[in-house]
Symmetry: C2
Subunit: 323 residues, 2 copies
């Protein structure tokens, strides 16, 4: 049995908990939290994060479920000294330097650290690599959604006059269909996606003013041609917008020769983004465990791990069942 620990018990931590409990070759040894362990709504054993070093020799892999903004950059390097780790670090711009830092630490301490797993970065990255490598002549497009963007939802919540809010990222369906049909598309940030906001106003707030503040917000909303802001009641938000769905598609339009096109397409539709991300990260925890057994120490990404490492099946089973 692979002995797993979970660090952080937000949505992602709960998703990982479900996946680890469902895995027949894994045992969840504990959830580590900054909160009071007895306050977590879980049947799994829970401990204070301060006590994690007591588990140094008991846990095979730690799955880090904190945020990429302030948790992972602080926790992961410290934990990589004592544990094999898996994380869903998703700050694309900073991945190269984060990889180098974790690679050095993991190697110095004879551990494996799988970084930036999940679906983007993660499975989408893997497909961008395969598509580009197999079809060097071509163009890759990534579409996200329809799904909840936590970053954009948080940004709306910070607007004066907004009491609660959720933001959906919506792909331009016509453009996406054209891309998959192999037709030429003009993929631009302004038009490839639209943004759909459902917000509850503070009492007395001016809806026009709030909508304007959202639509003109730099980086988050200003660059998009279409931003739809809907004001709804708290009741409606609670009733219709509690899920965290997401998904998207990677499309590469390529040419295998001047005469022949090829369209490569990978798509996910996820009822729960954190549950799926948790499921992916749990598979990469299995890989981290095996790589560590083989003393293939260091930082790894989805690019560096052979697919068979993710599965509990043997090579012979995989060849028989799935090849």
């Amino acid at each position: 049995m692979i002995k797993v620990g979970i660090v952080g018990y937000g949505n992602l931590g709960k998703g990982v908990e479900i996946a680890v409990n469902a895995a027949e070759d894994m045992e969840l040894l504990g959830i580590f939290t900054r909160r009071q362990p007895e306050q977590l709504d879980t049947k799994s054993p829970a401990y204070q994060i301060e006590d994690i070093l007591d588990f140094k020799d008991k846990i095979d892999v730690l799955i880090l479920c904190g945020g990429s903004q302030s948790d992972i950059p602080v926790q992961a390097p410290r934990l990589a000294e004592n544990f094999n780790t898996v994380d869903a670090y998703d700050n694309h711009d900073k991945i190269p330097e984060y990889f180098d830092q974790m690679d050095q630490l993991a190697k110095e301490n004879s551990h494996v650290s799988v970084i930036a797993t999940g679906w983007d970065p993660g499975l989408f990255s893997l497909n961008r690599l395969l598509a580009e490598t197999i079809l060097p002549q071509g163009q890759t497009y990534t579409f996200w959604g329809r799904g909840v963007s936590q970053g954009h939802s948080d940004a709306v919540r910070r607007v004066d006059g907004v009491k609660a809010a959720i933001q959906y990222t919506v792909p331009n369906q016509a453009m996406l269909e054209a891309a998959k049909a192999g037709d030429p598309i003009d993929y631009q940030q302004a038009t490839a996606h639209s943004r759909e906001v459902y917000a509850v106003l503070e009492e007395g707030a001016d809806p026009d003013q709030v909508a304007e503040a959202i639509k003109t917000m730099p980086d988050y909303f200003a660059p998009y041609d279409q931003v739809d802001v809907h004001f709804i009641s708290q009741e409606e938000l609670d009733q219709n917008h509690q899920g965290i769905p997401h998904g998207g598609e990677v499309v590469r339009q390529g040419q295998t020769s001047p005469d022949h096109h090829a369209v490569y397409n990978f798509a996910l539709q996820l009822g729960s983004n954190p549950e799926f991300t948790g499921a992916v990260n749990t598979c990469y925890a299995r890989a981290a465990y095996r790589l560590a057994k083989e003393e293939q120490f260091g930082a790894k990404t989805v690019f560096d791990i052979a697919p068979a490492y993710l599965s509990a099946k043997t090579g012979a089973q995989l060849r028989h069942d799935l090849l």
Copy 2:
């Protein structure tokens, strides 16, 4: 430069030739053929297959482009003694024993043999593995087409009264769309695909008799509810049916928890099946070369090879550009 040889110059060999010539890190040392080399319609150096051992120390990887029925089972074991090899062996039932045979030979002779690459087996297998591993609760469906099946085309050509023919495998589009929408489907061999035949009759042949012989052919056509046989002229066949398109989709409908579904989908639309298969196999030749340099000898499948090995880019470039 990775020095590549191609064994066999049919459609697949021509596809590999295009991909190797387009790869900046590869050099095509020669095409090896059973025909007279000077008769091949190519600008690449061509040699008789009998002379291939002269290239033992010059070629890094051989890409085997013969048929799975009678060429690969004979050629591959012999060649694996002297070369690293890549093949597109696609006899799914016999892959396990073929793997074991090649694994032993490759290890004994310190070579790498990548077997059963392409898109099915190959990329489709890879996606079946990822989908099943990440979503253990669920059901995977593979749809093929619309595309040319060489096996079925050959079977039609063997029917008395048929002068020439081509067969298209056609997925049940409504079933496929339902699968991708996450709706329950009843995937049965009889209904998941239909078969579309375009045949040219021999002079004097009875169309009703020929159509009946095709539709009732065991294994190839009898199991399918819908088989459409169209009789056309040789001119029409030559004009409208010379391409070798193919493709298909892998769909997994899964649950990340009792409350949340996830749909995983991988799709290819290929203007030229052999060109795309050749492109995939060329990437796996790059991987075979690198694995051999690292002395990771033995037989490998798409399950055993980390994606980064396929790309000419460095790990740092991949993390920067694609993660």
